[in-house]
């Protein structure tokens, strides 16, 4: 009986895998089976059927492995893994404050450790920009539940407003930073006012369209934005208007190392950038944590959970959404002006849809609404591709595949925590426990 069963299993397994391999071969046949290339302006093709064969074989055994894995190991393994994750999660939750403090201390000490060099600081700054953008978008997507696919547009507004203000009017970074935030927030309001009445999916598409419009305008408005050439030689920030980060100083400002009477090091500039973006990101985070406890933050979360109920409770959905949208845009504007000053050069190339997709992926993979999840996801999504830079071609391929896989495997994100901050019957369990 059992032998027969196994045989049947084997047969169906082979059939399943064979079918999968067949489909894979059919998928690969036109796209991988022929290689097209230019010969003096005329296109020709040559066959490459071995690739099709490889695809089919890989899928055949892959499918088989997955099936066998699911049948024999997965039920027990899944439980074990779940249990382990649960206990780790508990430990993390119990010592949450302690762990976060340790993490913060590590992040602050990092630039003073021997590990800090130009390269590692640059990478850290790069990751922190995305952490900040992720936290900013988290207000819009995670808290208010509005899907914004054009977040990079506000980032671009911030970057360009700093670049233009600084190069045309010689304004300092510290004046431009709030201005860039205000500009980005105004754009958020202008865009949000007409479209925030729409349902979620439509909002996604309109914001996507807006992101494209901004990019096209930046690309074509040559006199104002420099078009595809972008804006170069954007000034670096000063040390709060007190000192400068060059060896000799300029514009009447003393150099940084002389002001503090320390040895000159080219690292100082990078350390300053690091602390600047760290501070900006932490401000974003603190702001989010605090505003969740204010009425407007509560209203965002309530709106995300049930819009109809909110309306009947007298919350104005449009204004509430608008505030989330504008605040999210403002943080993108801050991040944008930081980006502009760090790079020293911006062009529309930096603000494509793919950037929006990456930021959204960070928020979603991190588990919408989870602040720690955003950090983890930025490290994975930004640092990962950066490390595998040599495989540049396959970077985005893996990125897209990963996005699908994580969604299918854990639709709620890696740190799936999306609890409203307040619940109406939060103490029901406690009461029941007491009654027993």
């Amino acid at each position: 009986m059992s032998v027969q069963n196994q045989k049947l299993d084997m047969l169906s397994l082979l059939k399943e895998s064979g079918l999968a391999a067949l489909i894979a071969a059919a998928l690969a046949l036109p796209l991988a089976g022929f290689k097209t290339f230019d010969v003096n302006g005329t296109l020709t093709a040559e066959t490459r059927f071995n690739w099709v064969l490889v695809a089919a074989v890989v899928v055949f055994f892959g499918r088989m492995a997955i099936s066998i894995g699911q049948k024999t190991f997965f039920p027990s393994m899944g439980q074990a893994a779940g249990g382990a994750a649960g206990s780790i999660g508990d430990v993390i939750n119990q010592n949450r404050t302690l762990l976060l403090c340790l993490l913060l201390a590590a992040v602050i000490i990092f630039p003073f450790t021997p590990m800090a060099n130009r390269h590692s600081l640059d990478l850290a700054v790069y990751v922190l920009i995305y952490v900040m953008l992720g936290w900013g978008l988290n207000i819009v997507v995670g808290l208010a539940g509005l899907l914004d696919l054009g977040y990079v547009a506000f980032y671009a507004v911030g970057a360009y407003s700093y670049a233009l203000l600084a190069t045309t009017y010689d304004l300092s970074f510290w004046i431009c930073l709030p201005l860039a935030g205000i500009f980005a927030a105004s754009f958020g309001i202008i865009l949000g006012f007409p479209v925030l009445r729409l349902r979620g999916d439509y909002l996604a598409i309109v914001t996507l369209g807006f992101g494209e419009i901004i990019r096209v305008v930046l690309l074509n408005w040559y006199e104002f934005t420099g078009g595809p050439d972008g804006i170069s030689s954007i000034p670096k920030p000063t040390f709060f208007g007190l000192a400068e980060f060059s060896r000799s100083g300029s514009d009447g400002l003393p150099p940084f190392h002389e002001l503090f009477g320390i040895e000159y090091s080219s690292l100082h500039k990078f350390m300053f950038f690091y602390f600047l973006i760290l501070a900006l990101a932490l401000v974003t985070n603190l702001f989010t944590l605090r505003i969740r406890k204010l009425p407007v933050g509560r209203a965002w979360e309530a709106l995300r959970e049930d819009e109809t109920a909110c309306r009947s409770l007298g919350i104005n959905p449009t204004n509430t959404k608008l505030s989330a949208f504008a605040i999210g845009a403002m943080f993108a504007g801050f991040a944008g002006s930081f980006f502009a000053t760090r790079q020293g050069f911006i062009s529309p190339e930096s603000f494509t849809f793919i950037e929006s997709a990456i930021i959204l992926a960070i928020v979603v993979l991190g588990g919408m609404g989870s602040q720690v999840g955003v950090v983890l996801a930025s490290i994975v999504l930004v640092l990962g591709p950066e490390i595998f830079r040599e495989l540049a071609e396959y970077r985005m391929l893996a990125f897209g595949g990963l996005m699908v896989l994580v969604m299918v495997w854990k639709p709620k994100g890696l740190m799936s925590k999306r609890n409203p901050t307040v619940l109406m019957h939060n103490d029901t369990n406690a009461k029941q426990g007491a009654a027993k």
């Binding site: 998928l27 036109p30 796209l31 899907l147 349902r199 598409i205 309109v206 391929l397 699908v404």
Partner: protein, 304 residues
């Protein structure tokens, strides 16, 4: 007047292509209520499959042109449908019944994946193809400006009309179409009365992909250059068309596609060509603000 007529012809041609892609969006939205973000990429794959078919046909020796077109059409529809089916099976079906944004995000991931897959397999450079159909009729001439309608434009418009007729009959008269409409109205109820819901949804994706493949074939012939990135913009515009016509409504998608094509042609004809994409998106925003249900869409009733 002559210039106007010329832009009209160009616009209708372009609109036919957008309309064919828009049907895929509108059907999928109607049946499972998600924006199939990867649909533009499916269209791009259709364009690549037809290009490769033409290349292979020229490699094995010249072949009678109508036969070559037919072969490319069948190949593109067949292989692209398989891609469409696989995308639904891998990326969307496991997420059915998950929270609202999950399939949309999975679709964005799929779109990035497919784009880069084609880039890795076929290279990032644009692929130029020699024009296969050339020549056309001169309709009128005045002050040295000739209005022409090329054979290719006639081919595109006629093929679109034929396909849309077949498609409308398929939806309205066959049991498959009935199953689709039933699933669209109420998935649970349709399952209870014996409709295989999963299969019906898969068929919807396959049909949408097949139509997108035809659009891909047309674009390959019409512009003669394709690359791995064409899906994004075309997909956006086709989605705009679907929304403009009223998402969920198939005649609406055709109408919307036609309108978007016309708007784009006239905009590039009379204003600046750089901002033609901005024009299409602005229309999307305006439609959504003033008529969120689109031209032919039904108002959505929110049940509490």
């Amino acid at each position: 007047m002559e210039y106007f007529t010329q832009q009209l012809i160009n616009g209708v041609t372009l609109g036919s292509i957008y309309g064919l892609i828009a049907i895929g969006y509108t059907m999928v939205y109607g049946i499972i209520g998600m924006i199939n973000f990867a649909h533009g990429e499916i269209y791009m794959i259709g364009a690549f499959v037809s290009m490769i078919t033409f290349l292979v046909l020229t490699l094995v020796g010249g072949i009678w042109l109508p036969l070559a077109l037919l072969a490319a059409l069948i190949m593109a529809m067949l292989f692209t449908s398989i891609w469409g089916w696989t995308v639904e099976r891998m990326a969307y079906r496991p997420l059915r019944g998950s929270f609202r944004l999950a399939p949309l995000i999975s679709a964005i991931g799929m779109s990035i994946f497919l784009q880069n897959l084609v880039q890795v397999l076929q290279g990032a450079r644009v692929k130029p193809l020699q024009p296969l159909i050339s020549g056309g009729f001169e309709i009128m001439e005045k002050d040295g400006f000739t209005v022409t309608i090329s054979y290719l434009q006639i081919f595109i418009i006629v093929l679109t009309i034929v396909l849309m007729t077949i498609f409308t009959l398929l939806i309205n008269k066959t049991s498959l179409g009935r199953a689709q409409r039933a699933t669209e109205q109420d998935r649970t109820m349709a399952a209870l009365i014996g409709v295989n819901v999963d299969r019906t949804i898969s068929t919807t994706f396959v049909m949408g992909a097949a139509l997108a493949a035809v659009a891909g074939l047309m674009v390959t012939l019409y512009y003669g250059v394709i690359d791995f990135y064409i899906g994004f913009l075309a997909g956006m515009k086709a989605f705009t068309a679907a929304v403009l016509g009223g998402i969920g409504s198939i005649p609406g998608a055709m109408l919307g596609g036609l309108l978007i094509g016309l708007i784009e042609a006239f905009w590039s004809g009379y204003f600046t060509i750089e901002y033609k994409d901005v024009a299409a998106f602005s229309i999307l925003v305006l439609v959504l603000i003033f008529r969120p249900t689109g031209l032919l869409g039904k108002p959505e009733i929110e049940k509490v």
